[in-house]
Symmetry: C2
Subunit: 136 residues, 2 copies
Amino acid sequence: MSGYDVIQVGAPSSWTDPGGAPTAKRFVDKEIPTQFIGTSVNAAEPGAQSAFWHAHERLEELYVFLAGRGQMALDEDVIDVQAGTVVRVGQGVMRAWHALPDSPEPLRWLCVRSGGDTLADIGRDSRFDKERPRPW
Amino acid sequence: MSGYDVIQVGAPSSWTDPGGAPTAKRFVDKEIPTQFIGTSVNAAEPGAQSAFWHAHERLEELYVFLAGRGQMALDEDVIDVQAGTVVRVGQGVMRAWHALPDSPEPLRWLCVRSGGDTLADIGRDSRFDKERPRPW
């Protein structure tokens, strides 16, 4: 799959849910075909949080925070994140996130994922915990 | 390689070469260990360009532009890029970039790379053309 593809996702300051939800997620790799690199652009209004925890069996994820202030939960740990924080998350680590209620702007980030094979061959490798409360 | 790692690279508006060069590149994956995802944070002052063209044999690259205005050359094509432009580049495609001389701010972007194996096993897979003039 040589060649190249281009998509416009808008400046980070424009990332928002088209339906007005407090969190927004747009998968670049659902709109242009990629082999190995999965990427989503994400935003969360102050006070908003991930709907659930999740972990990946095979995929490594890299969160690149670009604006706002928030926290990530990583198994038993909670870390502060802001513009410029990059978090690599290995296999099996449960993760969740929220934007601080007093964040001066929405928390905005890229989430990159890849797993040593084509995304098509890896398929769905995530597990969820929709019951576990988040720690903030 | 489970667990997680955190690094602070600063907000995109702060990305600059510590030595004052017109272009800046910082490899996240040289500072924290990653398995599959290579990422660099990049900036180019208005008018600055890549030092050379390059292509990858195995790696797919994804350029996520975050600020400024510029162009990418992709083999024989030249495309405009700005905040929100995402470009996937497949294997073998020669690429170069520049920030427009009248860009209102430095061109800033993330470059993500991955290749269906660990980065360590892929090793150096790039070729360069340091003689080919860029098309702007």
